[in-house]
């Protein structure tokens, strides 16, 4: 299967997900369970994608772990997304120079 087919499929699915409710639906979802589920989905997805993958994201467990700790601490103190992301990377990079 060519990569182009994969790209087309992922783009089409992503577009339809956004387009259908934006274009056709006007009413609010009534089910409290569904609304709660949809509210929690982003956090569950991001958490499952990040843990444990982040610990091997730089190809080295030690530099990844240092970057992760820095990200967790900065995120805990509500720093902007971009600051947390770049600081984690910088910490990993500097750790890599030391070991």
């Amino acid at each position: 299967m060519t990569v182009a087919v994969y790209i087309f499929v992922m783009a089409a699915v992503t577009y339809i997900i956004r387009m259908v409710p934006f274009t056709f639906f006007r009413k609010k979802i009534k089910s409290r369970f569904v609304r709660s589920f949809l509210k929690y989905i982003p956090y569950a997805v991001l958490s499952a994608m990040t843990i444990p993958a982040i610990f091997t994201s730089t190809g080295n467990v030690v530099t990844s772990a240092v970057g992760t700790v820095v990200a967790v601490v900065l995120a805990f103190f509500d720093l902007p997304l971009i600051v947390v992301a770049l600081a984690a990377s910088l910490a990993s990079f500097l750790t890599g120079l030391l070991i």
Binding site: Y15, I17, L46, T58, A87, F93
Partner: protein
């Protein structure tokens, strides 16, 4: 009309700057997963989403099935449906069906957040301005990351591999600190994800994310159903 477009672009500048650096990481990741610079840029231009693209590249790299790709995108990006639903109630009369079809493309977490925070209705030109500049940042960053990933020293490009995960932590940690329900959901999802990674290794990565997310969010919805006040606060 024109001023609305420019206003949208201006409000989109911080989004574009953030996207530029984050998508740089995506570009590196995509090339490391075996994609070309053009393929990586094409994914960013046609998808305009972070988590879905990373998971999608994972499916491509692993040679997964198209069904897996569809389900992965569906589960990871389903949150956009809720955002689209919410935004659709805030649109100006000028948002005819063709405008809605076009602007749907640009509903991302950040664009949704900025548009939702606007007072009053949203006109098409405003949203187009914001989407355009955000998209430029996202695609340009991907292109630069994918290109430079091959030129940059190994130490730099490998350290960039953590950028997107760092951003994800920055999204999930602050609400987890404030709300027990969100903390519960993120911890369950992380725990399940570890189990899939090291114990249930026969399940592929894409499906593992789906199962973890549905189980954790479903359990969260059962134990901590949202209240109307929470939803109005946008938390």
């Amino acid at each position: 009309m024109k001023s609305n477009f420019l206003r949208g672009m201006r409000d989109g500048i911080p989004i574009a700057l953030g996207y530029l650096s984050v998508s740089f990481g995506f570009g590196i990741l995509a090339v490391q997963s075996g994609l070309s610079v053009f393929q990586a840029s094409a994914i960013s231009a046609s998808n305009l989403t972070s988590a879905g693209q990373i998971a999608g590249v994972g499916v491509i790299a692993a040679g997964g099935t198209l069904l897996e790709m569809i389900l992965v995108q569906l589960v990871i990006n389903i949150r956009y449906s809720l955002m689209a639903l919410s935004l659709s109630q805030k649109l100006d009369k000028r948002f005819t069906t063709p405008h809605r079809l076009l602007a749907s493309y640009g509903i991302t977490d950040e664009i949704f957040a900025v548009c939702s925070a606007q007072k009053g209705v949203i006109v098409p030109a405003y949203m187009y301005g914001m989407i355009l500049i955000a998209m430029i940042g996202w695609v340009l960053g991907t292109f630069l990351g994918a290109s430079a990933g091959e030129i940059l020293p190994e130490a730099v490009s490998s350290a960039m591999g953590i950028v997107l995960y760092g951003m994800f932590l920055a999204i999930i940690i602050p609400p987890s600190r404030r709300k027990k329900s969100v903390l519960f959901v993120t911890l369950i999802a992380a725990l399940l994800s570890i189990v899939f990674k090291y114990v249930l290794t026969m399940i592929s990565g894409g499906f593992a994310v789906i199962i973890c997310a549905i189980a954790a969010a479903g359990l969260g919805a059962l134990l901590f159903p949202v209240t109307d006040e929470e939803e109005e606060a946008g938390e």
